[in-house]
Symmetry: none
Subunit: 410 residues, 2 copies
């Protein structure tokens, strides 16, 4: 069973606003085993909305519309749906009375224009609105259900959960959707795909999606089955060979980001961590400390944006920097070792490099040296990242966390 | 002139993700006087995408597609657009060569599947991608322009501004849209609205939108007129009384975030800055150093997540912390003063507090003390922020930057 969502409102077509009602509805529908296959956002334009409704009704089992049910001229949803389905709008005096009573309870008089909200598409059942004036409407057109729902999130949620959910459950298949999310560090999107495509392309169920972040690839597998047992079995049938191929590149099977994983590993091994950041300027530590409870293992560190600070705060030899450069293996090594020594932490990570857009010390933008110092010495990894300043910094922080993860696993 | 945007990607149909590329594109198009009249989000489904393209091409002057240009089987945009327009896909060896060279520069071999990205819709012009592998495509179908753009925001922006904007400008109407964005620190959204609503509600042109971030309110005014002069005159007619009401709460009239403003002020006054972060764990420094060229004024700092580190790295007296707490005015003062002394920077900002969800030292989650030390001594500001951990940290960093801004203006 599949659904489409149509959000109505010119304000949703400005640069400042996103449609969030559809996220809520998607979550609700998915939990019933219903996929959302398309979302459309249209302004307060009757013709365009009618065209969107016609297209959606032609191909989807459910069409959910949010917004455009208010009392003003701009509120075109009732008219557009009636037009798209070739049905009339019928005035319901009892709906107008309810709206009037609602106003009366608030000590106000209903404005004449609110009577517009009493027009119901012929054959629709009325969904009373406990939280606002606009009633919802449920229309069956052949096998397709069309729901007109109010835009304000509070009204939408109350109406959907109170009146739509039970009705959809009867219509919905007994199917369940279960998903896993593998997160992978240290590989590019196309490398991951090339490796695992021979496995996942043999299946349409589960559906596989690959998402790329900075040094962080997510593989989502979503299985849709009649029972939870079948779904989990299918996920394991497809997931196991994929996991075998990716091996220890997988850092998370729960969807958690790498800073959460590394945090758990540090906690379990009763280790502590310090940082010494130059190019990432605090971003690595900000990620580490974004995890609630990170104060159990993160002690602190040093932000050394100049050579003088690398020398003063970390004890990096000025001659080392003069000879090899501040962006060098030698400096990264001295930074990590210095941070570890000066904080007494079990591990220390250093990052020095050039985030761009300008190059530093003849090193091209994107160059990074990452040091991980621990009880068994210090390793430095050299990489050149492509992309703009935010990307390069995000890549470097991600790689640094993955290097620590590998060290902690060893 | 009107445009439609089609975002492609099954991940954009999950409960977790919104399409943000379209916000950027809407902003760009609006600035050229082009309205966005519909947005559609489809999964990695060729038939559905082709249907969306056909509908859009039938009624809009421009159709912008984002995403689905990657190298995997899931990436269906090229195929779907070719199908919708009844055109062939043509393999371009020179595009494949460029992608291969891009990999080579990063010291990697191109995967075989990346050759998919060298298929171009017949008759399209190729939009080279400086930041990624997927080239964009510009197709003219009668009077309609169809743009295939990459999904990653960095690639999209560079390609759009570098290659699409000048071409669209030639096509765009003579009407202009001009906007100003005032950014305000230290006020809540409803306070801002209550203050300025008497001014802006008198006008439908310019349109006014108020957006709320963490301690950061944006007031957008958008005027649409026949000439730039008229638009600017209208913006100033409405903007001047709004600016007078908000006074020095406005930190930016250009839309720039506060770290850019503070950076310019530090540069102009030839001052330097250091930080000492506890609760924000690097987030303040990460924002400061997100600005290219920030190494001209930011020297570095200290991340002190434990009392021991506050004592060792910043010289905060352990007895002070025992008496007043690590989350206290006294500790914030000692942290800022210690950071300034140990780095020699003109100014130092300290943040100590409890980001939550758990409270620290009987201080409720959200409590923060922010110190600003400079040539005229150290001031500490105490605030309690509401919200979850990421919000509290963002609020604290924003307030810290605003406190420094006020000090620098004095």
């Amino acid at each position: 069973l599949n659904a489409e969502i149509i959000a109505i409102g010119s304000e949703l077509l400005t640069p400042q606003r996103v449609d969030t009602d559809s996220l809520y509805l998607t979550d609700q529908l998915n939990s019933l085993g219903i996929e959302v296959t398309c979302k459309t956002i249209v302004g307060d334009d009757r013709e365009r909305l009618a065209a969107a409704v016609r297209l959606a009704v032609s191909r989807s089992a459910m069409v959910l519309l949010t917004g455009g049910l208010g009392p003003t001229e701009d509120d075109v949803t009732r008219d557009a749906v009636a037009q798209a389905l070739g049905r009339k709008l019928v005035y319901h005096q009892e709906v107008a009375d309810q709206i009037e009573q609602r106003f009366a309870r608030a000590g106000r008089r209903m404005a004449e224009i609110n009577k517009r909200q009493a027009f119901i598409v012929e054959g629709a059942s009325i969904l009373p609105n406990d939280r606002g004036t606009a009633p919802g409407q449920w229309i069956d057109e052949g096998d397709v259900s069309i729901l007109l729902l109010p835009g304000p999130p509070g009204e939408l949620k109350a109406m959907f959960e109170g009146q739509c959910l039970p009705r959809i459950q009867r219509k919905a298949p007994k199917q369940v959707i279960r998903a896993v999310c593998l997160r992978i560090a240290g590989m590019g999107e196309s490398d991951v795909d090339q490796l695992i495509a021979p496995v996942y392309t043999k299946y349409t169920n589960p559906a596989t999606t690959i998402l790329a972040g900075a040094g962080d690839i997510q593989v989502h597998l979503r299985a849709r089955c009649d029972t939870e047992e079948e779904a989990l079995a299918l996920l394991s049938e497809v997931g196991a060979p994929i996991e075998a191929l990716l091996g220890d590149r997988i850092y998370s099977r729960s969807g958690d980001p790498i800073e959460v994983l590394v945090g758990s590993m540090l906690r379990e091994s009763q280790s502590t961590l310090a940082v010494a950041e130059s190019m990432t300027g605090g971003e690595l530590a900000a990620r580490i400390t974004s995890v609630p409870g990170s104060s159990a293992y993160f002690v602190g560190g040093f932000l050394t944006y100049t050579n003088a600070m690398k020398a003063a705060l970390l004890g990096v030899d000025l001659e080392t920097m003069a000879e090899f450069g501040a962006v060098s293996k030698e400096t990264a090594d001295a930074m990590a070792s210095g941070a570890r020594k000066r904080t007494g932490a079990t591990y220390a990570i250093s990052i020095t490099g050039s985030a761009g857009p300008d190059s530093a010390e003849d090193q091209p933008a994107g160059t990074a040296y990452i040091g991980v110092a621990g009880p068994n010495g210090c390793d430095v990894t050299h990489r050149r990242f492509l992309g703009d300043r935010p990307h390069v910094r995000a890549f470097a922080a991600q790689l640094a966390l993955d290097l620590l993860r590998r060290r902690l696993r060893a």
